[in-house]
Symmetry: C2
Subunit: 361 residues, 2 copies
Amino acid sequence: MEANSHRYCVIMCGGVGSRFWPYSRADKPKQFIDFLGTGRSLLQMCFDRIKPIVPKENVIVVTNALYEPIVREQLPELDKEHILLEPCRRNTAPCIAWAAHHIFARDPEASMIVTPSDHLITNEAEFAATVQRGFEFVEANDALLTLGIHPTRPETGYGYIQIGKEIEPGILKVKTFTEKPDLELAKVFVESGEFFWNSGIFLWTAESIIKALHNYAPDLECEFKRGEQAFGTPVEMEFINEHFPACPSISIDFAIMEKAANVFVECVNFGWSDLGTWSVLYDNSPKNKDANVTRNCNLLAYDSTGNIFALLDKKLVVASGLKDYIVADSGDVLMICPKSEEQRIKQIVNDVQAKFDDKFI
Amino acid sequence: MEANSHRYCVIMCGGVGSRFWPYSRADKPKQFIDFLGTGRSLLQMCFDRIKPIVPKENVIVVTNALYEPIVREQLPELDKEHILLEPCRRNTAPCIAWAAHHIFARDPEASMIVTPSDHLITNEAEFAATVQRGFEFVEANDALLTLGIHPTRPETGYGYIQIGKEIEPGILKVKTFTEKPDLELAKVFVESGEFFWNSGIFLWTAESIIKALHNYAPDLECEFKRGEQAFGTPVEMEFINEHFPACPSISIDFAIMEKAANVFVECVNFGWSDLGTWSVLYDNSPKNKDANVTRNCNLLAYDSTGNIFALLDKKLVVASGLKDYIVADSGDVLMICPKSEEQRIKQIVNDVQAKFDDKFI
């Protein structure tokens, strides 16, 4: 048996990516798109990143039932049983609880990394070393470990983690989790050296997270507890389809991380972005000589700078006199919006839904 | 025999419409597009307008050989023999010379209206009355008649006709043809009441125009003269394919109208536009409440006014913070350009051709 055969990875892959509408659509959200023009979708990049770290047969993808075909198409190496299909959307805590029980039933000694599928990580070697270190820590301690990213700018779009005492080199007690700060506070956070970005990437043993769920989210845990006999058996999906919808819709941060006493942070620096907004995508992307960013298109720019053009099929875009816009085309929808107005996209999606139902969502 | 059975119409339909690139493409130029969102292309609208005026079997469409399939598709009522296929582009004079000889061989008593296929005429009843009057004039006189439009603004995009003595009510001698004026001069023209827009719509008998070609464009006429025995016979196309390419590329205005002594203008007022530029199209189109113009798309506009959106397939466009732009999408090309910069389109088309050959032209 390999040394890492008790190590698992849970890739959370059920999001709708509505902040990137219309480039990200309900039927093909952000994580399934070749968002960086690399030829691989964000999910595929996530899978590629994990493969050297945990055995392929220990990778679990949790997604919405809608996305089963696209996950199977994009990850043909993944066995069908390794795709957990949520019957409905219930945020991260129920997703993680299910995955933990599923894995625990298979391997009570399991440790696991839980990761979103739609983030960018630029230094994969550093990532692998970080995760290796994290596994060792959670396998030796009853600990809930989150990866905290060294902040490089006073970003207001992220949550922050305040660090406490260092337990082992690079691994510290968490003092507090904070919500997204305003710019002034974000500046203070970054200058203090005490705050790290909350990456939403976690490590723990299946046993530790189930225990934490039992202690801090008993309502949620009891839904899964009753299925103990079902996990890992042919009736697991039947049980999930019946009980998953009854779970509260709650994030793992809110349900567990902000409450538990055994929460630790590994402070890391592997070139991370949640790619959460167009502006972040712009900032994280290579620019051409006009400071424009292009995705899946050919650009001819005249007096046009600071734009991001995200299209399909290598479409030709000719832009004249356009500065700092998002131009996103998904085939049947074209959106042109200043980068500075991207908070309007949520309203736009609502308006489109009100006017056209789900046709363009 | 009907009263109008000697009356013919020549629809010139071979243009490439490059000023409307990329909405107008080499394989489907402006005249073949439902440019006004009426459900009929400009060519079809032209044909519909002519049908009450001349017998259907007397309508001749002259186009480039490339466009035979699209003309036949759009005008299924037209017999195949009524489509004259130019083997190459040689501007309007050779086109008209061929059509005149073709018609003369069939009917030496023919009179004809020659019209572009890509103009807008809003008052069709007035148009019909005007053309009726024009036919009567050219049938009674050896005259080359052009339709002059009452100018409604100091347009710098049109040629102007200076009027002379009135010969009959509404029909005047032409004093001069002028090139496109600058704005100051255009204002003077309009205020004088002596200048009319040159519509590029002509009436004459086949005999009169052939005589004028003989007198004022002998180089051109001699190319056709040698084919006298071929016109109206099965070898006409063979003759054209051999001799048409040898014709000089020259406009009928330059070859004949600016030189001939028997040129007259009928001053008319039927709501005309050559739809020659995006701005003209914008001005001639109904606006929605945000002063935006849409073609074949659904628009959601936020803080966006004065734009023209020309797309395909009822695509949804979401525009935020966009003022006075042209947004044109032809499937594989998207162009975003301020209306005020549309003279740049010619350069853009050149640049696209230099970079991608004909792929996107």
